[in-house]
């Protein structure tokens, strides 16, 4: 059991009224994990962790002399 922040204030995450849902998105740019807690059809908590993978790179060039 641990404390959970919700739109109704802090709750015990083991409260039987809470329904826990989780999900993951994993592609070439990021890995994202989210966790939700619902109570009586209302989303009361949603946290997200995003792991960045590869983003754009800046290429350089030089001008020609002469």
């Amino acid at each position: 059991m641990s404390k959970l922040t919700t739109v109704y204030g802090d709750m015990d995450d083991a409260d039987p009224r809470l329904e826990k849902r989780t999900g993951t998105v994993n592609d070439t740019r990021e890995r994202t994990e989210w966790i939700e807690y619902w109570m009586d059809g209302i989303l009361v908590h949603r946290s997200v962790a995003v792991q960045l993978k590869r983003q754009s790179i800046a290429n350089s060039e030089i001008g020609r002399i002469g």
Partner: protein, 154 residues
């Protein structure tokens, strides 16, 4: 045989403020050995942030809520920029995280800017659109190398 090109070390040194090219009108006052303070802020998916921006401002930033404060969080920079396989790269040395807040809307962008140098913007990073409800958000950095480092020049 000679080879034309910008020096790899130059890119790394640019990130560390070693060079001040031009007439010096933008050369900032610096204290030797004192790094600038870089910050990371979150922006709504409906905002219009991009590489064309020059200066951080709050237009389109998440509204203050819980532990989210406009202006963002200070970026930890324990490691210096370096060069690997002809690519100069730099990556903050710790994740960015915000706790116990509700986002004022879906957001998909993190902006890095230099709060020590008139809030000049450094980079714009996007990810899948997210919403936070009385929860936490963390943005974990990629591996700091020539392939995935957050800022890379080649």
């Amino acid at each position: 045989m000679n080879t034309a090109g910008q020096c790899y070390s130059f890119w790394s040194e640019l990130m560390q403020g070693v060079h001040a090219l031009g007439p010096g009108t933008l050369t900032p006052a610096r204290i030797v050995g004192t790094p600038d303070v870089v910050k990371a802020a979150l922006f709504l998916a409906s905002a219009s942030r991009g590489p064309g921006d020059t200066t951080y401002n709050t237009t389109g930033e998440l509204a203050a809520s819980g532990n989210y404060t406009q202006g963002g969080v200070t970026v930890t920079m324990a490691n210096a920029p370096s060069v690997t396989s002809a690519v100069a790269h730099f990556t903050p040395s710790a994740s960015f995280s915000w706790t116990a807040f509700s986002s004022s809307g879906p957001f998909d962008t993190c902006v890095l800017y230099n709060s020590s140098q008139a809030d000049r913007q450094i980079s714009v990073h996007t990810f899948g659109s997210q919403s936070i409800v009385a929860g936490n958000f963390s943005l974990t950095m990629p591996v700091d190398d020539n392939l995935t480092g957050l800022l890379r020049f080649s």
